[in-house]
Amino acid sequence: MRPSPNIAPAEPPPVAAPTEHPSQARWLPGGWLAPLLCAAVVRGLWLMSAAGGAFRGDEPAYVGLGRAWSELGAYTGQWPPLHPALIAACVSVFGEAGETAARVVLTLLSVWSCAWLMVLATRAHSERAGRLAGWVAALYLPLVPFAHVLLSEGLAIALLLPACALLLAVAAGELRGHRGTAALVGAGFAVGLACLTKEACLFWLGALGLWGVCSLGRPAQLESRRWSTGVRRAVLFLGAAAMTIAPWSARASADLGSLQLLGRTAGLNAYMGWNRDYINFDLVGLDVPDAGAPGASLRASLLEPPADMEQWRFQFLPDVAERNRLAVATGRAFIRAHTGFFLRTRAVKVADLLTPLSYMTRYLRMPPPDPEVAGVKATGGYCSVLTSRPFSVPLTLVSIAMVLALLLLAAYGSIMVPLSPGAAGLVAAACAATAPLALVVAMSRFRAPGEALLIVPAAAALASLRCPPARGLFRRSLFVAALGLLLWSWTLAVAPILASLEEL
């Protein structure tokens, strides 16, 4: 490939491991086909178990919104519109088979996401890490449900990962001039679309904007950091995202007669996360024991509600804007009155974000949907041999082990393995974008975009296993702190895991 005049010489390789020079990395190097094919086969097999089914949770609501949009010509939901738009488009084109078509699109998008993880890992570390990231992404079961269950996470991941890759290329100085400008606008457009898919992606917008201020002003190792350049590029990225979101915000604001940025469910989320009984949809239908398992009594004591919980319920006003305002105001007053309860329950919610459980384990333990009945029993888990014990037990155990391994490797890779400029910051931005979810409702589903990005440092760790770790007291202290956080979280997760296994 002839080098472009807009592509600057890249920095020397990171210290500890990579034998390949990042500047030699191509966007689609050889050896990538096998992991991508593997990803397609794995997702295809699971897709066959999902086709014709109906998954419990938000999927029926998304499908209803998509079908209504296709048939009535107008979007009438309270969530951001992009994921329902995808379903509506599939229903418009394929009719009754629209849901299955949407599952196929999500499957293809999941393979697309695997490819972008390979790009990111190559950029962040080495081609070997890129190939390993492909294999890890292909075989990592906890994220596979988002490749066919009609939830918004799969689409959000497919938009966020290329945005991260573009930003990383600009940070590394590989895209400069007009190409750099186009990359920043493209990244902002993609993250804007992700926000139109899932409201929580606003945290990604903020975190990536901050990361941009720090990282985009240092385009190569040879150049010292220029804050003004970083600010300018971050503002361009944020401006493109804002312009992508703005038409929907205008429409939502016009509907309600008051300023609405994206969705209209913030009040309900605040209520569920602050002044209502503990809720975690990973554990729906499970009877988690209060004692008899390591960490069970600690978990139960942390979640012990205050005696006056009932008086903090709030009335569901018919006006959505007023309802949101009241919900948030009631929740804030509750937090002021019960600060201790709020803080100790956040400790559990952080653990919920880092739980080894996942939507894979959730759907493996759920009974298949019963099409003969109406209501919640018409939805469930996989409707195939996967829910029989010979399959569901080992698959659940493997899924749990995969989360444990990914989080450990990602902690090691992002802290103890030298990554290319900006890459470690990108992982930190992903964590910063995920952590605020512990302030409301925390569960494995909400961490999915950040979890996908963690495959990058995990692959870097795998690629560097034979190399000595980076030195320095700060790095080692940070790594020990990360291990402590994981250990704490997993102690609190033992009781839910045992309850989950008993359900199989």
Partner: protein, 111 residues
């Protein structure tokens, strides 16, 4: 960075000429366009009376459904007698009735 700082004598790559002003202009233009779009949407928000009128727009079921959706979000029908809603639905298109039945069936229950 001066050549003294760089033992290999390499010169730091500088930004292409004109990149800064172009990016600032683009960033501020996009930000301003976003702000104007949202402001226009907010300032042009229809009143309840206008929404009721739109909900009866003949031969435009899409506008009717959108207006009905906005009325429901504003809590309009929950504060009205059921008879008023049913009479409104009778004078609206089939799509509006379909929409309310499918998405807001609880509104049609006696209250």
């Amino acid at each position: 960075m001066s050549p003294e700082d760089d033992p290999q004598g390499q010169v730091a790559p500088s930004e292409p000429h004109g990149e800064g002003p172009v990016q600032w202009l683009l960033a501020l233009g996009l930000g301003a366009a976003a702000a104007i779009t949202i402001t226009l949407g907010l300032s042009g928000a229809p009143t309840t009376e206008e929404l009721l009128e739109r909900a009866r727009t003949p031969d435009d079921p899409r506008t009717q459904v959108q207006a009905m959706h906005a009325l429901i979000l504003r809590g309009y029908w929950e504060e009205r007698p059921l008879e008023e809603l049913t009479s409104h639905l009778e004078s609206s298109s089939a799509e509006v009735g379909d929409f309310v039945t499918r998405m807001h069936g609880s509104l049609l229950r006696p209250r």
